[in-house]
Structures are given as C-alpha cells and as structure tokens.
Amino acid sequence: MNTRLTAGRYVGQAVKRIEDPRLLAGRGRYVDDVQLPNMLHVAFVRSNVARGNIVSIDTSEAKALPGVHAVYTGDDLNPRVQQFWHTMIGPPIEMGGQTHYAPLKPLAQGDVRFVGDPIAIIIADNRYIAEDAADLVQVEIDPLPAVVGILNGARDDALVHKEKPSNISDTMPIPEVPEVEALFATAPHVFTRRFHQARATNVPMEPRGIVVHYDRYAGDMQIWAATQSVSEWRSSAARLTGLGENRVRVIANDVGGGFGQKMMVTRDEAAVIMAGHLFGEAPIKWTEDRRENLMTANQAREEIFDVTMAVTDDGTLMGAKVFFWEDIGSYPAGAGAGAGLAGGVFPGPYKFPVVLPGGSAVFTNTVGKAAYRGPWMGETVAREQMMDHVAYELGIDPIEIRRKNVIKAEDLPYTTCTTMVYESVTPSETMEQALEMLDVDAFRAMQAEARKEGRLLGMGLAVYIEPSAIAFGILSSDQAIMRMDNTGKVIVAMSTGNHGHSLETTIPQVVAEHLGCDINDVVLVQGDTDSSPMGPGTGGSRSAVIAGGAAQTASLRLKDKILQIAAHMLEASPEDLEVNNSVVSVKGTPAKALPFAMIAPIAYQMPEMLPPGMEMGLEVTARYQPPGPFTWSNAAHVCTVEIDAETGHTKILRYIVSEDCGRMINPMVVEGQIAGGVVQGIGGVLFEHLVYDDEGNPLTTTFLDYLLPTAPEVPDIEIGHIETLSPTLGGYKGMGEGGAIVAPPAVANAIHDALRHLGVHPTDFPLGPSQVLALMNEAAQA
C-alpha cells in the first residue's frame, strides 16, 4: 500500500534510533537532572483570582523562614527588564516592529490577569522550603469581574490589559468584495456553520524548567533549559538582562517534549532569568510542577470558526467566507497565532474559486495561547467538518464531494485563490489510498448491518495540505557546522534540539548518505549555543527540510574537499573517485584507495601533502534556505467509530493515514510522528478539555481532570505512504504537525456519520460521552 521512492543506503531506511539506549536506560539528561554545587530552588507565588487589583504583598514572613535566600516581587524584577519580546515574532509595535504584544512583564505588578499569574518568586535551599515560603507570602487582591470566553472578551465590557484600548488584540475583517457578494447572493446553495474547538494544551510529559547561573564576577550567564530553541532562549535572556548575547550560554540536553509550548521564553522563565541575574550568587533552578503546567503554561485551540460556503447543486465549491475567533488568553506566547495563516491555507486540498478570510484574536483573563502542533490548524478543523455538513445538506456522499473538488495531479502546479503555490502535492492520491485501505464498501455494508441492530457505526474522512518548514524571518534557514576529526569521523553541529524528533539519528542518516561514511561515524551536536550555530531550533515541521538541507549541503562540501585531497594523493581526477564506507577509491580500481582515517590527519597535520594552495583542515559550514516560504506536505485520514447508543461513548475502531511527506529520511520516525500527532488530535475531540468557570478559575489542573489518551483508548494506527519529491534540496517535506492537525475533523466526521441519521450534526468539541448523549437527546426531542 505504498508508493515509495528507492531508498538509499541510509536515507529511506528505518534506522533504529541512536539516542534510544541512553534514554531507555534512564541516562537521559533533562533539565531537572542538572545538579550544580550550591544550587538553590525556585517556587512561585501565584494569583488565585483571574482579575483583580493587588492591594498588598507582604513577604516578610517568607523571607524570615530558615532556608529562604530571596523573595522578589514585580517591584524588584520588572524595572530591571531591558526588553521582552520574541525573535520569531519580532519586536513590538512600540519598538518599531509589527506585533501587538500583550504588556509583558515577568511578574504581576499592580494587578493580576489570570489564575496562576506569577506574583512573587522565592529562592530557597530546596523546593519544599520554597513552597513553604510561598505559602507564607500574604497577598491581598481586590477581585474584579473576569473576562472569560472569546465572544465575551470581544464585547470589551472589561479590559484584560488596562494598557490596551480593547480586548481585541488583532483583527482582520472579511474583505468586502462586490463580486463575491454577488456570487453568494446568486449561488444555488449557501450554508453557514459555527464550529467551536475546545481549549486544549500541549502537555509535554516533562514540564517546563530552567536553571539560571549568573556569575556577577565572570559577568556571564549560563542557562540550562527545557527549550525547543537555545538560540531563542539566548536572545531573550540577553534582551531581558541587557547582557550581550555572547555573555549568555544556553544548553538544552534532552528535552521531554515541547509541541510548541517550549518555543519561547514566557513570563515564568523570564522571572527566573531576572531573579537569577539579580541574585547573582548561586545557580537557581525552577522545575515547573504539573499543576503549574496545566494552570500557567501557555494553552491552545480555544477557537470559533464561522464558515459560509457557496456550492452548486452537484457540490462543486464556489467560494467560502471564514472568520476565525481565537482566545489568546492574557499573555500569549507571541501574539494571535493563527488567523492570518489559517485564512491563507483554508482552501487546503480543494479548488476553491474564492476564499475570503478574516479573524480576531481576543484577550481573556485566562492563561495565554501557545503555538501547539499546527497552531493554524483550525482551518482544517473547520473546512473538513464543513465539507461533511455541506455534503449531507446536498445529499451527497462526503467522499464524492471531496473527489469533485480535490486538487489532482493534472492540476499541478496549482495556485490557490489565496495565492499559495503547490508544485508537488498528492491530496487526491492519498485520499484514494486511505479509502482503499479502509475498503469503503465493506465498511458501509458493516455499518448498515450494525444499524439494523441499533448499533451506531460511522466513518470520517479528512484531507489537508500542510504548510511545513515555514521559512519567514529567523525561520528561513538553518546551518550545519561540520568537522571531520583526526580519526576520520564526523561531528555536525546544528541549532536543533532533542525533544523527540529523532534528529540524533536522522541527521546522521543524511550525512552518512551524502558523505559516504558509516552512520556510526557521525555525531550530531545540538542544543548548546556555544557549539551550535544560530538558528530557530526545532518546531514548525522544519528540521527534515531545512536542517536536513543544511546537513546535506555541508556533507557534499566536506566530501568535495576530501575528494580533492584524495585525488591529489592518488594522482587521479576527483571525478574518477568514489566514496564507500568512508573509503575513497578510484572507480574500477578498488586497490587505489584511501580511507577517511588516513585523509583526515593529513588535512590537519601535513600541509605539504595537500593540493597546492588548499586551506588546511576538514571543516565546512553550510546554511540552507528552502526555495519557498512553505514546503507543502499532505495527507488523508480515515477514522471509523462505534458509538454506544445508550451512553454516548465513542470507541475508535480503525484509524488510517495515507501521507506524502516527500522523501522519507526514516519511515519509522515518520510513522512515529504521525501516530503521536494523531493521538493528540483524538485527545482534543474525545478526552482533553481545559475548563475555566465563569470566574476564570481553571478546573482542570491535574491529570485526573485533564485527560490524556492512554493505551487502551487508541487504535492501531494504519499508515500508507506516498513519496513525491518536494522542490527542496533533499526532496523532503515536513510532517511533524500533520497528525494533530487533521485527526480532530476525521474523528468528528466519523461521529457525525454515525449519528446523522438520528438528526445529530455536531459542530463543537469536545465530543465526550456526556456531550454526545446530550446531542442525541436533543435530536430525539426535536
């Protein structure tokens, strides 16, 4: 069930992961594993009301507790901040940038704006004492009515940020285009739906954490952090403190997942950096606990989508208007994440003649929004559910309406109505492959039989195109710094990090493939600003395409130099040489050969043996920038479910993915990313829901309330591959986010299919048993 390219010696092979043995043996090195002499520990005092004025903060009792070294409030830390913004987003409007930031300060000062808002920071001998001290800080807050809910926030009855004129941070109205209005006025069918996606969160299994060691005599700061980007952390720490970037070193060894939550320095981490800078006597460590992670780490997905679609009688798409409301909470990481991009990619895999997008990002007194695995993915959630709603309205099969409108091979290259250019995508082919894997006819027969017994089976299909390897600003490129050592082995340093992406294996696969060496002779160094190049780190489904491109280019450059040296020594032309298993030989004359292990010492130690004029050494750098702002990958997902008609409980029967991420470096790793993303997507529909009450109190601050899927709830995920080369250097396409993007509508559409004959047409997440049964009751009474 695959359309695969021919695999290379390494690229295309399911190479077992190099990083696994140490992680399996419990010898990973995560930030909380950092233990330094004299290290002290941090706990926060946090607001227990969502909105209110701080009347007083009394830290005297806490400061007097034995084992407590410092207690800082906003008055201590905030005035010391030089600048607080994110490189990826750019400087704020006030500094000449483009971005409307929330008024970022490490600690609350004057008022509090969400439950969990950090008010004071304690430095103590250990975390136990730090928490004791936190309990002793007396904070009096005069509570005010909280702003909760996107549409409530948009009414501006009360302001989340008094520095801002409105709770609407950014807004982009749907353009008024007379021709489009005329089209909608005369279209045979126009349907409108409002979809709602519930608040969910990234939940890396390792919460956030940071160790800050500022030595005021050395004048430098060393940071160990659970971060997706050491470069971003270094830039942020330098901006916050006023230290030069060259005075800040950031190390991320192993990171226990991020999914977007660890992309940017948030207020908590900024407070620890500022506290460490002010304290200056000893390293301090903050390890976020799970309650903090569920209460104060940035969250995602709380969105409303208003979709209007015009179609012909036979289901041909005529146009769409979409408005995205996103709840960005109080202090989003960056700004409103998605509306602009979401509108641009809304056409997805279909030939829409016109799409007019708009959106508003709304502040509320809840925790801020994060980038979470496909931050713009609301477009797919809305579009793919809408396709089914429209199909059922017209009495057309959801498969057929997609077949009628999907972009096919003969349409390529295709420019969408929103000016996105697809050169090599396969939405039609993946859709057909996924449907074949299911055997639609057999499923429909089984569904009909089951229905006779009152059992509710359904299938859902969802198709999408993913803007992977987003290449704007700092995201545009990545660098590889490559060195062959004296023994002929290779070290490659990159800006990436290890938080589950398998780059310690896949980058060496690329290097070994293109350099011609054994994979065990390649080591990737990452996650350390002192040894790695500048770059945006890991995220945005970028590493295979952009880091992979840099690694490939560096490998070829290094190989070129090796061949020149070998050619000189073997008295041959470089074109007549080949490389196999770290040995350079003359083609057809294998006896005339030089291993890397002989060439490397010559390059470093024997200039007289090098070609005249050649610089000594075997060190190269390469920076790769992909040809376009997006590298498009695509997939189709099919889900089948059975719903317990009496309890509303949904069981997933089968889950099928067909995907095209270009040339796969490691199909095992690709499948791992798909499965992980899919289960996060399933979670967002069936299990996960971060709940705030009307006063802004978070009700889901433990794992007993915020429900992650576990092994018995997930199906065996069946995966088919189609490999078509992207226009990038390696032909790769990014795919890390896709599973999480398209699984939610696939599951929702399956539930819709199971229940539609009862008059149930779901539009809102979550779809837990309570919600499903309520919809069934409602339909039965209608």
Binding site: E131, D132, R291, T647, L707
Partner: protein
C-alpha cells in the same frame, strides 16, 4: 507540589496507633496505601502535623475466611486481594471490582481498607461494601467496634469513624450457591473514576431471585444502595425495569466530566447491564 512538613510515625500495633491518635487528635492522619492521601498532601489540599503509617502495624494485612464471612485486613493491598483465590471464590463482587481501580501500579500499593475509609463516592469498593452489607471493624481508644456499611458512609470522604478511630478490617458476607455478581461502570478512560457505576449481586433459587444487592457509585455524595431496585429485582422485574427504578430516585450533580442529567440517564443503562451480567452468572 511538595507536602508540608510532618512528623512521621510507624507504630507496630493497633494500640500504638490509637494512642498516637489520642495524643495528636486532628493534627494526625493515618496513612495506608497513600494513593489518595499523598497527592492531596503534595497539592497542599491537606496538611497534618503527624502522619501515622499503618503499613508496619501487625495484624492488618491478612485475608481470612470464617463463619460465612471473609475478613480483609485494613492494609491488604488491592493487588493482593485481586489475585487472592479466597476473594475470588468467597466474594466475587469484590474480585470483580478490584481491577477497575486505577492501574496495576496503584493497586500494588493501594489498600482495600484505605479505599473504603477514604469513602470516595465514585470509587468501587465503598459501593461493594454497601451492596454486600459488609461490616467495618473499627479500633479506637475504647477497643474495637463493628459498624454496618449502611451506617458507615456519611457523606463525601466522611465516614462514621470517630476521631481517634481507625478502620482495621472489613468483613464481607459470603453468598451461597446460585449467586452471580457483576461490576459495570462507565469511565472516560480505563482506570478513571466512574462517571456511573453499579455493583450487582443476585442469588437464584428455582429460577427466582431470592437475594439481591445493588450498590451504585459516581451518582451521589456517597455510595448508594439501590433498595427499591433490589425490591423490584426480588419481585421479578426484568433488568431494564430494575435499571429504571434504580435511576429514578437519583439526583447526581454536574461536574467537568459529565452532567448530572447524563449520569442519571446512563445509570439506568449501567444498572441494567450489571443486573443482566449478574443474572447470567447466576445461571438465569
């Protein structure tokens, strides 16, 4: 999430426990498996100056059968009871309930007595104790006393144990031949607290139900005994009718996982399924 300070005590006898409780009053708390208590301490939802560990107290870890009852000591691990042949043959309802508790790692430490004394209205064992008319053995400064399960569960996390008393054992009645049992529950995920749960027991004689027990969990402030539904069962009602009767008197509350209306509606279904399964096992 670190607990507040406490003084730790590991007494060796029940008398030592009750003496410590008498000395420290409500500044002290007993610790059995700790699977519910320790998270509450770490979240600082509770704090005690003295923690009295029951795990090294002699005489609390045995399972013994005598005179038509099975006595389960307070610190018998749930996993031990789950794999006990005595439990499986003597109190099948208990054996069927145990695998629903959390996960195997939780049951390896959690105790039968601790679960019942914790009296969470959504957990399985209190409902089993109530359904089976178990007897709770309590020890206090004045010696031991027996408390009927019907009198034991006062409200959410509140029992009839006096301050200064601890649960030392639970005695479950052993049913005779012709019996069948089932524990049915609806959870969001495997191992979660039940949204709706039912423990059913029936005994048949000559094709008629001669004995019926029905305990509900997740449906009120305490585990509930569905007495009217038991009466209906004895009167020959079918399982669906028994479910309707059991659900009719319920008034469960909303929470983030399910509405009260949902729980009430589904209670009829879960009770029906439990009764059907119990009847089937009994040979109906």
């Amino acid at each position: 999430m670190k607990p507040s300070s406490f003084n730790y005590h590991a007494p060796a006898s029940v008398n030592d426990v009750t003496a410590l409780l008498a000395e420290h009053g409500d500044d002290a708390k007993v610790l059995a498996g700790g699977q519910s208590l320790v998270p509450m301490l770490s979240l600082r939802l509770a704090a005690f100056e003295h923690l009295i560990d029951l795990n090294k107290v002699e005489g609390l870890a045995g399972i013994t059968r005598s005179n038509g009852t099975l006595r389960v000591g307070a610190v018998v691990r749930q996993a031990v009871a789950e794999h006990s042949a005595d439990v499986a043959t003597s109190v099948p309802m208990l054996a069927k309930a145990l695998p629903h508790i959390g996960h195997f790692q939780i049951r390896n430490r959690g105790t039968v007595g601790g679960s019942i004394a914790h009296a969470d209205p959504a957990s399985e064992l209190p409902a089993v104790a109530l359904a089976l008319d178990a007897t709770i053995e309590a020890a206090g400064p004045g010696g031991t006393r027996q408390i009927a399960a019907a009198d034991f569960f006062v409200s959410t996390w509140q029992t009839a144990l006096d301050e200064g008393e601890i649960l030392t054992a639970v005695e479950f009645p052993v049913w005779g031949p012709g019996s069948g049992f089932a524990v049915e529950e609806l959870t969001r995920r495997h191992g979660d607290f039940a949204l709706v749960g039912a423990a059913a027991g029936v005994q048949l004689s000559g094709g008629k139900v001669t004995k019926a027990a029905l305990g509900l969990f997740g449906l009120g402030p305490t585990p509930l005994r569905a007495a009217e539904a038991e009466a209906a069962l004895l009167a020959g009602a079918d399982a669906a009718e028994v479910g309707r009767v059991a659900a009719s008197g319920l008034n469960p509350l909303d929470d983030i996982h399910a509405s009260g209306a949902y729980r009430k509606q589904v209670a009829a279904v879960i009770v029906r399924r439990a009764v059907q399964a119990a009847m089937q096992e009994a040979g109906a």
